[in-house]
Symmetry: C3
Subunit: 363 residues, 3 copies
Amino acid sequence: DRTKHKHRGRRNRKTKIKNKKKDHCWICNNIGNIKIGNQNQLMRPDDSNLAGNVHGGIILKMIEEAGCIIGTRHCNVQNGDRCLAALVRVEKTEFLSPMFIGEVAHVTAEITFTSKHSLEVQVKVIGENVLTGAKKLASKAALWYVPCSLKNVEKIMEVPPIKYASAEQEEEGRKRYEAQKMERMETKARIEEAVAPPANPEQHTVGFSQSSLIHLVGPSDCTLHDYVHGGATMKLMDEVAGIVAARHCNTNIVTASVDAINFHRKIKKGCVLTVTGRLTFISNKSMEIEVMVDASSMVEAEMRKYRAVTAFFTYISLDKDNKPLPVPSLKIESEDEQRRFDEGKARYLQNKAKRLSNNQGQQ
Amino acid sequence: DRTKHKHRGRRNRKTKIKNKKKDHCWICNNIGNIKIGNQNQLMRPDDSNLAGNVHGGIILKMIEEAGCIIGTRHCNVQNGDRCLAALVRVEKTEFLSPMFIGEVAHVTAEITFTSKHSLEVQVKVIGENVLTGAKKLASKAALWYVPCSLKNVEKIMEVPPIKYASAEQEEEGRKRYEAQKMERMETKARIEEAVAPPANPEQHTVGFSQSSLIHLVGPSDCTLHDYVHGGATMKLMDEVAGIVAARHCNTNIVTASVDAINFHRKIKKGCVLTVTGRLTFISNKSMEIEVMVDASSMVEAEMRKYRAVTAFFTYISLDKDNKPLPVPSLKIESEDEQRRFDEGKARYLQNKAKRLSNNQGQQ
Amino acid sequence: DRTKHKHRGRRNRKTKIKNKKKDHCWICNNIGNIKIGNQNQLMRPDDSNLAGNVHGGIILKMIEEAGCIIGTRHCNVQNGDRCLAALVRVEKTEFLSPMFIGEVAHVTAEITFTSKHSLEVQVKVIGENVLTGAKKLASKAALWYVPCSLKNVEKIMEVPPIKYASAEQEEEGRKRYEAQKMERMETKARIEEAVAPPANPEQHTVGFSQSSLIHLVGPSDCTLHDYVHGGATMKLMDEVAGIVAARHCNTNIVTASVDAINFHRKIKKGCVLTVTGRLTFISNKSMEIEVMVDASSMVEAEMRKYRAVTAFFTYISLDKDNKPLPVPSLKIESEDEQRRFDEGKARYLQNKAKRLSNNQGQQ
């Protein structure tokens, strides 16, 4: 099931490309197909919580970095302006098994679909305990990128097509492309106000656990374009969501999944990010947390604060043996909270149904 | 006791500002008054010592970041050059209760006084144990900023005035302003030589524990101006002071307080900082450490090394139950050391007297 | 055995330099001679493995930073273009005793030889346990730098000569200079292919433990020139080598030494580094790992991937009491692997012989 690829539109190429190995792709600096293989990263103390569980945000950041590198490389094989692959969407991502400090994360990325102006990258993260040699699939993700010109960040370049292993594979990719396009159009940037919580909120209310952080965007958060890496934003979002979940449960909590995230607007260096998280829905053993990222300039008063990203994170609470614990129920105090709870419940039931049908489809 | 504020001098503003909520301040992106509320940050392993106590320098850095953001926002509401709030002074700051890894630091900041060219920000840090829900006041600080033009860092802009809740409040702010102005004028950049210690110093002498570190200023230390953030400097100062204290005591040590710090001169990207700490005074259960920050350029030989900041850090030594331990006394070996010891003792007694009178005033 | 130095060629110097202390070197901002003394750094959780051993890569990075600062300062004392000292070679470096989290690393650096266009810096790292006061020599290294003009990175500037304590000292320096020059000429950038391992490699084969990581070069990795710091590259190399060693042994492993490293080509900001490590040779209690650093641009398709650095790291496996453990032998599967094994064995025997003759010379 490995894909191969052609690279059209390279008429004026000056240097002669030799493929030293039969199926070595010089573009991707990799063997066999459009892949980043064998990317390894050691998980450190700062990457994890007190119980040693690696934060979901760290995994999302690794995934996005791999996607950005492979996407950018692929889009620069043909002539024309040099460009950077900018993240526009991450499909729903599940964290299948927890990773721990001292383990090695093994990241592989592959371009699995290209449209005229966008490309899909599928990324897999495998956690490896180097002391026992045990490996487990930690996460799988699908990300969509568009190539932005380095000269003019608003100019979207064309994506060189990949060659598919089969017509079916291409067709499946096209279906995923159409589905996400539809969803991105439907999902406008939700401008729900991040209202400040009351002064002395009661425990287990939405206001009690609502949290936000403020981050001044520095050079290490940014791409060559001086725009914030999608992965850096997702890491901050997961940080806030984790604080919300811990405040509600007072236990060890971990990210179970993130709903599809659309990156509506870019965030420039020098901006201040306000990242706010609040509980929307609680099932028996999970919490859904809505995270809103607002960007504003410290120095340009004319530039209004704007909503850059919204996403729903699902957290679970774990006991000492990493078994899920029941979650305290949520005290609803307003109509808005009830509406968000009902919307969260609908998402929860829809995901559950999807999981069930996927499982049956595989049997 | 919440302040309100007006924003004069905004004649040519192009965009129309609507306050969606009655007391929402669009400038501060916050509700109610000029505040940064609910800034939350999770304390990580790298933020703390082996006993899990968060370094005072990490808390100072968080405080300064909040102050810089709120100050810069406030100063850019009116027309004219865009500017950045540059830290010029931090009032004496006490670390009231220790914070630990895994706790969430909750930072709130408020502009409490404005003069024509400077503003005062008061910042509060609350430590929250998310497992027990317990909260305690970790630190309170008052910082003074001046707005420097982004076009010309030497040009100080005007600060838009805030509106006070009462005439008394404004009057108290003015007193604090006059007091710090006087002190900043009196305190010249002390140019005490940071003499290298002797080759084989005896234990418990000043030379034995004297320590210094060298830091090459990189992009992540700097503001949009490419000058070092005050918070980054304070973090380095606390690192050196902590090494001095640990070398003297050979125990677990924590920052108890920092005397008022004046930032005499700016430090530019590409500079090398030499941060030196040495013991000046020791009471029964505390150590005073003088920390000197010298900046120099690696590449401009004409630019002499200059003293950028000086401050006195007070450390205490803790046993396994976080109770203060007696500190070994200091062996004085020179007249300079004796003079510094006497000066430190005067500061110690003055602070003690001030604490007593404050306590009596509150009764 | 302290060196003194003269600084010629400073005809047009504008500012008057006063040496306040008799033997204070204003150039090096230090007392006595061309040194960086008392550089102290606290070792943090992220700097070390699960057993608390500080990674060799962290120590190499500290060493290189000290060398870069002292080298750059020295080369900018005379008139002409301002320049930065760029690392071209690190001599074989041994890690003599392990360092642990919470210890303080004490780094001293000294310029020990200058040729017309290069200089040698010797750096010593002492590990100090601040709780017991115990100190031990953690590592000693010798680094070679050349001064690159800040205006034109390809222009190598002249190095101001140092003054030696004795003619013998200068002569010994010249011998080291000639020896490394010879070796750098002989060692071409080895372009051994980093072939991807087979799909399901058997345990204890070369393919089984082969690992690589991909790193997008960001601003915090770079010098004022926007080229990658040698220390940042060595830290990445040690990270990969550590993963290879742990995968082969499934135990706690530490860096024992690094063979001489030549930095063949510079690496610019915005590049992608692919760092690959594979086992070459195994003795009874040590593993030799070849690490290859390939740089490529994400955006310039014409710029072929190139080999920037190659080095051999030697790791040992430790039990719970930090005693060396036997290492599983290596299953050789190809002629190339056998050739590399034999070359590694030759290096191993040569080093052993050199150690023996050094020991005898000292007796």
